[in-house]
Symmetry: C2
Subunit: 312 residues, 2 copies
Amino acid sequence: MALTGAYKIVLFVGGVGGAKLAYGLSKLLPPDRLTIVVNVGDDFWHLGLRICPDADTVLYTLAGRVDSANGWGVANDTSQVLTALADIGGETWFRIGDADLATHLTRTDRLRRGARPTEVATELCAVMGVEYALLPVTDESVPTIVDTKEKGRLSFQSYFVANRWQPTVTAIGYEGADGASVTREVGDAIDQADAIIIAPSNPWLSIAPMLAVGDLRARLLARDVPRIAMSPIIGGRAVKGPAAKLMRELGLEVSAASVADYYGDLLNGFVDDVVNPPFEHDGLKIARMDTMMPDGEARIRVAQSLLEWLES
Amino acid sequence: MALTGAYKIVLFVGGVGGAKLAYGLSKLLPPDRLTIVVNVGDDFWHLGLRICPDADTVLYTLAGRVDSANGWGVANDTSQVLTALADIGGETWFRIGDADLATHLTRTDRLRRGARPTEVATELCAVMGVEYALLPVTDESVPTIVDTKEKGRLSFQSYFVANRWQPTVTAIGYEGADGASVTREVGDAIDQADAIIIAPSNPWLSIAPMLAVGDLRARLLARDVPRIAMSPIIGGRAVKGPAAKLMRELGLEVSAASVADYYGDLLNGFVDDVVNPPFEHDGLKIARMDTMMPDGEARIRVAQSLLEWLES
């Protein structure tokens, strides 16, 4: 398939890694040609607030507000509220900056008043000047649950933040995903997509929680368009986060080939990093390029290479 | 009645004025002899948070954390979250400092998890080192509603904060108060009280919302103990807030006598300020003293005078 200019892309993302590619693509495509679908498996209630870590990371990244040292949170944020919470014995294991808190307050208030998560996400984009559609994959609650050897069953943030993803994972569940549905907005975007891209996010913790929602996987398979994932493994490691550690714990080889295996027939294309050992899979077109995205320039360059390959 | 040392006092308070007397009494009486019952008519939901302005004012005052310039809020608080909210177009008309927000987050989280307002108030006292019982008059929601000439019907905070109590009040309602009940804790405290004191808070906006709750007025009347109010009017003015303006709008003379009239047979004693013109009411013992409480020392002095009169 040759994409001839006016094509539409749907990008599936988790947090930091996905946000980088979303940022790069947003600098090359106009808003009507890029829809970003974000994982909600990390979303949780904390201190009475609805917190959506992946959506916020993408939001702050696209808004140019992200703390580039961490990859998440708001740049130059303060932590007055956390300090005050600590003073009165409150929970501070989940670091929320003051500006970040303003986002959670706004979201929680709107949700409590009956707005859909999709509407709230759109409103937050608007107030932060983000013109791209940033859509939660579903408006329902589908929390990722992590079974671990040392600590038993953990909520995602308990595993990821409170326990710094150190426990050994034995299984991962996507609670309620089976019975949940993708939103109308996400469904429409998929139906109209000329290409579907899966960001180099953690396949098990960021992408699988989306693929587990209702009939999403079948809906994607039904689209005869490029369905491409970018490898989150570069040189035998995850750029950030627990992907490589998790693969070992799940008994998998830590490689791009393992990732491609995991996605299986969902993909007809794969973007691998040049430093990885080449591999071949039946029915899979594989592009090899430098996919490291340490800064804004690199993100645009990677997005450019991806789009050029798509158009070729 | 002569109080002989081990007497128990129940003090009914609103916000700033009531907090001052509560502070003074707390410096003279041990925790088992002072129960503070606080107005909840001002409580409201804002930004998804449950905010209890009167309770917080008393809490911060007793904890030695209050901003003494305003009389409410936390001393030396910052406003990082409000600034961030303003950046994303959020509501900032109700000023919430960052440390104050930590209180609201803690309260809201506990309420959302099913705790009673009374339990949460007790927990907040504990974490802030306040040993006195600070009890919401009811665990139910009984919002004060203000009818105004210029702006129609307003929620209390809309009248009080957003409109800076400038609209002309035509009527005041205590929504749901009739069908609500005082808590078991408040009922027990009243039953065991050797004296009932109504702080120099706004009779219509701080005290009446409590008296309107269920059978509270009847329960107080049933107690054959000193039932004393302290005048919120000193020298024809309210020390703070809209009491005097409100009295004019309700067609009342702005005087301590009007306040005593308003409380009616609920009282058998009244503490008037020395600068007010003396008045007499059938069945009402009236003490005259300096009741201005500009600082901590004055609060203790006024509380001391009140206790001495009670014991005499």
